[in-house]
Symmetry: C3
């Protein structure tokens, strides 16, 4: 840090299981990746190449090289996995992961109907090859999953080999964990946390109010994802109680008197 302030919440050091920040790259240039890492490389833990953008961007290999050189793992968005599966090209998908030397992959079913046993099978298979993040929640705002089912799905996916489970929100932050207005389905989140360990969940929270809500509930070291690259620094200040929204939140701990 550039100067010394008292009563700042302690952040887990990298590599970490808690306090994880996942950013979404939806088409950065190589130079933009370099700029992002100059500013936020110390704060971002993993980068998702949003949905299937990796299919169309012409600079894929070069970007992967830049992230790799900085020690930041990268994975393809779950929609890419689904795009291969729906076309019965799962083996091609596995080859792509090898070709690009990916160490992480996401398994999701946000855009298609898949038996949950099949999803768990994919998690089992892929977790022999890479570290798997699995995502729960539909991209379809009409599909409401009740809390007990979120828990059951998450537990089964962790049991199948997922390293962490992701709570779906999309880039917009308006489905899954959130109402269409972006408001958190807070009862859902609290019920999930009675059963699934805090550090096993990565909450997608692209909107600032959502990030603030999670940090106030779960502290500086909550795992948050779908953060725009330019919002990683603002998020870090919210985690540290250095933006208006959480300014008071961490002061009580050891407030000077």
């Amino acid at each position: 840090m550039n100067y010394s302030l008292k009563s700042i919440p302690e952040r887990e050091p990298k590599p970490r299981e808690r306090g994880y920040t996942m950013a979404m790259d939806k088409g950065l240039s190589v130079r933009e990746v370099e700029d992002f890492l100059e500013v936020a490389g110390d704060y971002v833990d993993i980068v998702k190449l949003g949905w299937a953008t990796s299919y169309v961007v012409p600079n894929l290999q070069k970007k992967l090289d830049v992230y790799r050189a900085a020690g930041i793992p990268v994975y393809f968005g779950g929609t890419l996995f689904e795009a291969f599966v729906v076309r019965e090209q799962f083996d091609d998908y596995r080859r792509i992961l090898d070709k690009y030397q990916m160490t992480f992959a996401e398994v999701s079913d946000g855009s298609l109907d898949m038996a949950h046993e099949d999803k768990c099978d994919y998690i089992r298979k892929l977790s022999e090859q890479v570290t798997v993040l699995s995502e729960v929640g539909s991209k379809d705002a009409e599909k409401i999953i009740p809390p007990y089912m979120w828990i059951k799905l998450m537990q089964a996916e962790l049991d199948a080999g997922a390293w962490k489970v992701i709570g779906e929100a999309r880039e917009g932050g308006n489905v899954g964990l959130f109402r269409s207005t972006g408001e958190v389905r807070s009862g859902l989140v609290e019920e999930i946390l009675t059963k699934i360990p805090f550090e096993k969940i990565l909450w997608e929270a692209p909107q600032k109010a959502q990030q603030v809500w999670f940090i106030k509930l779960l502290g500086a070291n909550v795992n948050l994802g779908n953060i725009a690259p330019s919002e990683v620094i603002p998020l870090e200040t919210i985690r540290l109680g250095l933006r208006g929204d959480t300014f008071d939140h961490f002061l009580d701990l050891e407030k000077p008197c």
Copy 2:
């Protein structure tokens, strides 16, 4: 593309009359233009320098050079044309087009009142000098043009020499083709399409939900405009059925069974 996926809708190759993507540059630096073209140069067809931003940016000539070297035509936003016309400086405008060796120009009347015959005269004159895009629709949310009139205006402007007609939406996507909420005036669009050929219209659709709506109605190769530079890659994935919003849309065509 970086890997092979089945059942991807076919895109018209460049240069194209259909499936056109027009992006809006509202003040990029030279390096930002280079970054934009590194990522999206294969997908963007034409760039508009938004409204009259070209009047104030200090790097105009340099940016034009970069776009030109990449083979991407550029034009000044229609508001610049109107700014010259309202000041009775139309001849100056024509000289500016020559000075900067512009090959396209936009004729619009979104910010001023102009007799339609006069507008068509401007289209006729300018189309001797450059390729003309003409825009229909007011920037004033209060001015509602009925569907039969949209058709009449569009047809007259094509007859006067416009290469394509643009449906107005502004940078925000909340006027003209859209309600103030951003919702598409769908009856209007469908009625227009009964009379004006699909490939002659470029729909301004800056918001994702608007892009999705047009692609679902008109397919991967609809002409869309006012796309932010950072949204050209996301748009391309929507066109190809590789984002949640259109994931199902193109699969039926040749779905593996």
Copy 3:
């Protein structure tokens, strides 16, 4: 300017007391600062490093060097001042200002409760060291300050040595001067202006509709702040009547007839 247009409102030349544009940097890379200044260096007057982002960004000194070389003063957001004060580290704050050779500082009380006399004391002390901008208005949407109190606070802070007073809006533009919808509290602004000189106020106005409202009320040379770097060029066109929103506004002055 790149070409000559009649009836363009005259802008105060830099350095200026009126027509000031304050931009907010919330975590730009060094190269992004260079890009920003290439495009908007002639139009931006001062840059705020938003809230306490300067605590976490690893490139602080390098960025300050780039801004300084371009002759653009920089200051730390008021929340940083508050973060030091609430921890009883005000002397540390003064040392930080010296260490980084800051020539401006912001005094605010948007995130904490502070007796107004204490706030004025801080303004007095800091104005011996740097040029002080002081901010009025809470970041808490629940805390509504009546107009007569805004005036009283502003006058006292100017009397205590503030160079200008800032009307609070946050990065989002939804508190202080604005309703939660972003709508301007117009009666408040008009009443303030009956007592406090126009050029002594810097209005935070991050949203376009807010910028348009102030420019229509107060002219091209109103002081506006919390402008995103990519919006400085768009703002300049609004000031000059070269975007749809203010297209008509300045034409009457010397309209060609």
